[in-house]
Amino acid sequence: MICAATLLALTLSASSLQGADSLRASRVTALRQVTVAPPSDTVRSFRLHAGTDVAEALRGSGALMIKDYGGIGGLKTVNIRSLGSAHTGVFLDGIAVEDAQNMQVDFGRFSTDDLRAVEVYNGQKSGRLMSAKEYGSASAVYLETARPGKNRTLVRLRGGSFGTVSPSLTWERKLGEKTALRLSAEALRSTGKYRFHVSRYLEGEDGMVRGYDTVMVRRNGDVSRFRGEGQLFGSIPGGDWQIRGSILSMERGFPGPVVRRPSVFPLSAERQEDRAGFIQGLLRKSISDRYALALRFKAEDIRTHYSTHPEINPAALPFDNHYHQQSAYLSLAHCFSSGSPLTFHLATDAQFNRLTADIAQFAAPSRLTLFGGGGADLNLGKFRISGNILYTGASDRYQNEAGGFSLESSWRDAWSPSLILCYEPLEETVLTAFTKRSYRLPSFNDLYYTLVGNSRLRPENAVQAGIGIRSSRTFPEGWSLGFRADGFANSVTDKIIAVPTANQFRWTLYNIGKVGILGADLGLDLRWKGAAEAGLSARYTFQKALDRSRPGSITYGNQIPYIPVHSGSLTFDFQWNGLTAECVTVLTGKRFSSSANIDDYAVAPWVTSDLHLAKVFSLPRDRSLALRLNLNNLLGQQYEIVQGYPMPGFNVIGCVEIAF
């Protein structure tokens, strides 16, 4: 993707890309190879495995903002380049993870177990045999699992702050030459309790500062989660296939925003139970030297029970609802290469979603979305170009108040073109440019939420343009220096902004109208590899994401909610003799919780430092023992990412892992 430019990658270097693919059989590599530009950021495995979820691993990477409501069970979403979390596609082994109900993917749900890498792309990935959906999102996060290479059993026990205990078991077997199996199970339990401060100081007219500082405890943030997964990987002549089945059962509480309330009434008693299962599969095959195809499918069933438990929290509005989401997805992608530098691709996807709920007059919407895309890649060695166009059309059916089915506003469609250019004037220097239009449909919640009303939200369009340079040099004695700089200009029209209301499950949605985004990412990576390996990465992001909706309004020309103008991170890592240490410092500048950029809505800047330590001991007979420790928020800073949702102070998660 284009983005190459972008980024700031933490650890990235050209070698990490090759490393990613080297785990696969070489003939598969040919199918997967990145043809135009590398990912903007890659989170490597050593960061992945100590923490409890992917959101934690993504902290401090790339020009992405993680919106985190705090605690292990709290919602965590990812927003790339101010486009909004609904514009971030999430792909698990190349197949989209999505939630048609609210279009937000909770990164807290994904375990880091079995993940090989997490890749972040601005714009889109440009690989071969991509599904049409992969061309659709404005930016993408790819979660890649490793294919088992040998017979192995992995036992992990994690635990630490917030009363967190999480055992997991992974069992990997090679079934003959061509097939491999992985079964894994993970359980997690956490009380989610932590102490936090609430304080505010006001300077009076007399110059005196008065205020309050109160310590409170976050309650009702407990979570218990069980996940079971089975994955089957296989090779066929000229291709490969994989199937994954997964079940998830999760029960958690939402601690709710911190508001003034007498101590006799709890802040929240909201609970949510999720029972979800999916099966997905992928088959890729080269039919001839010139033609390859990929088939993908997914079927998912999610049942959610949400209750505010008014009998425990009488201040809550009484809700007790069951939701049932079902989806089916099928994709066929083709790739034609003529042997010349030119490669053509074509992909067609179909997706069906439906949502039912035991709510009176519930709209019970269903949606059929068709994606059709095609394009061409031209690879002239130093100069590479990829052009694509995607058509998205969605038809909604829902039950209107009178009963019957209505086809009103049933068809929404759009064309999303994209163009990626990549030029390598010198060895290790890449110039990239891209432009893309993408389109996101309003979610079922946006459109059909009974109590919020039938909001006639318009779909949201994002137009992106970015240029970048990435350069690296190696010096004698194992030193290397990498530099990257990107500029981007995005425009979002009819942007739907989701902000939490009194709870995380329900949102206030509005078409903020128009947002103009101008930004730049800068990154510097210094590495040394000798007897040991050490690296230092610095990243800085500047983003002006300005509300351009209504000239003359109080919000016009102001920064949109929760996007800092300045943000960045500093990462130091050290690896020696099986020992890994990494310190990530994330800096986020002043933000506003509203597009009205007045002091009443200012959210304080924050800095947190996390330290990840890992030591792997090799034991006889190909066994190993790994000890991992994540020390988060080392300085115990009190901060909020989302106003009203205080984040935990210093906390520790440890992990013991035995592989045999």
Binding site: V198, R200, Y201, L202, G204, E205, D206, V209, R210, G211, Y212, D213, T214, G256, P257, V258, V259, R260, R261, P262, F265, P310, E311, P314, A315, A316, L317, P318, D320, N321, H322, D358, I359, A360, Q361, E401, T450, L451, G453, N454, S455, R456, V499, P500, T501, A502, T508, Y510, N511, S553, I554, T555, S593, S594, S595, A596, I598, D600, Q643, G644
Partner: protein, 413 residues
């Protein structure tokens, strides 16, 4: 500032807050209030001999704890934002979350903080905290004698078995809490219909508008009655059938009870109804197709004037209430209702704003409307605006200024 200083200041504030003034409507004020020092925005020239202040309760956005209390001071024409937090800086978490009603009684402002589960009693003279009364999910407040009555969504639990549903649903009856105005304590409560909203007292009876706005998702129907409670025995003694989804109740001095209905958003339009004590059914007041689901208020009147406060109900409504298109240009109309069914129109009124969210009508000594204050919600989540229209001059807009989020509730002091 360290915690010791904080403690000292909290102590000072608590002491200062205990002084409650009895009859504040005296010109000029004998004692300068500390709130004179608060920075405010000059929005107009000062005026004396009228009310002292207009209080504006900004609801805030639910869950963000940003309800605020603003005031406009007539004597110097200044608008002061967030006065409660400024005058009570050591009150943890400020005024609270979702201010749903504000009324003045005996020199004190009673602010009903819905999502904070409390009623905050504030000195109208200097915006200092007096008392906090925990009440579950409070909605609206009315006064009668030495009691305050607060409607609340949190009454007894009922198991409701819906035919389309999975198992039983727990839903809550509404409740009215009776609060002693001198001890600030809840002394009694009585259950009413689902999700009661407005409340009014007249002649020993308490009238409560039931909405059913939340239980609708389970029961499939809105409430349509006003519950009548006998103030003496504090028991529900009857109900009056009105229309679906009731909102506000006003009682005028002659015993006309006015009730507004939001309607059901697809079959029954909103409207204003009236009945007399003893009636079992309310009559719709003909307003020729103009809904009244926007905002209403009774006429406010300084004590001692010939025409009693509350004798007239002012309504801003629209004839296009089911047009959900955000781009549609809406037309708002002002009318008033008095004498049970008399409708007066004010065609000269033009609303310059986005969404009229709350109004306040202030009368001159002879009872005629002098100022109409309108709160504009703009987009519901960002700071709104408060405007003042001069009724005598064909509703010229005298001033307009930025308020807090959702300026929906007013009281004059």
């Amino acid at each position: 500032m360290n915690w010791k200083t904080l403690l000292v200041f909290s102590g000072i504030l608590v002491c200062a807050a205990t002084g409650c003034r009895k009859d504040p409507i005296v010109d000029p004020l004998p004692v300068a209030s500390e709130d004179e020092d608060l920075a405010g925005e000059s929005v107009t020239v000062g005026e004396t001999g009228f009310f002292t202040k207009l209080f504006v309760l900004n609801e805030g956005k639910m869950g963000t704890n940003n309800a605020t209390l603003d005031f406009f001071r007539f004597s110097n024409g200044k608008y002061v934002r967030n006065a409660f937090d400024k005058m009570n800086p050591s009150q943890p978490l400020g005024l609270g979350d979702v201010g749903n009603d504000v009324k003045l009684c005996d020199g004190k402002i009673w602010a009903v903080m819905n999502n904070s589960g409390l009623v905050e009693v504030i000195d109208a003279f200097n915006e200092r905290h007096i008392a906090t009364i925990p009440v579950r999910t409070p909605r609206n407040i009315a006064f009668d004698g030495s009691y305050a009555y607060v409607t609340s969504y949190a009454g007894a639990f009922v198991n409701y078995l819906a035919d389309y549903s999975v198992g039983e649903h727990l839903i809550c009856k509404g409740r009215v809490y009776k609060i002693n105005r001198t001890t600030y304590s809840v002394i009694d409560s009585v259950d009413v219909g689902y999700q009661p909203e407005g409340i009014a007292c007249h002649d020993g009876r308490i009238y409560v508008a039931n909405s059913g706005g939340l239980s609708y998702a389970i029961t499939y129907q809105y409430e349509s009655t006003v519950s009548v409670i006998d103030a003496g025995s504090f028991q529900e003694i009857g109900s009056v059938e009105v229309a679906p989804n009731l909102k506000d109740v006003f009682a005028d001095p002659d015993g006309n009870i006015y009730v507004t209905s939001f309607g059901d958003y697809f079959m029954n339009h909103s409207g204003i109804y009236s009945f007399k004590p003893g009636d079992t059914k309310a009559k719709r007041i003909s307003t020729e197709g103009i809904g009244c689901n926007m905002t209403c208020a009774t006429l406010s009147q300084r004590p001692g004037n010939p025409v009693a406060a509350g004798s007239e109900v002012f309504v801003i409504g629209t004839d296009d209430e089911w047009n959900w298109d955000p781009a549609a240009e809406k037309h708002y109309y002002l009318y008033s209702v008095s004498g049970g069914n008399k409708v007066t129109r004010y065609p000269a009124f033009r609303f310059d704003g986005d969404i009229p969210y709350g109004i306040c009508a202030a009368a001159e000594g002879n009872g005629t409307l002098k100022y109409l204050f309108v709160g504009d919600a703009v987009d519901y989540i960002n700071p709104g605006a408060v405007s003042c229209y001069a009724a005598q001059e064909k509703f010229t807009r005298l001033w307009s200024t930025t308020s807090g989020v959702d300026p929906g509730h007013f009281c004059l002091y």
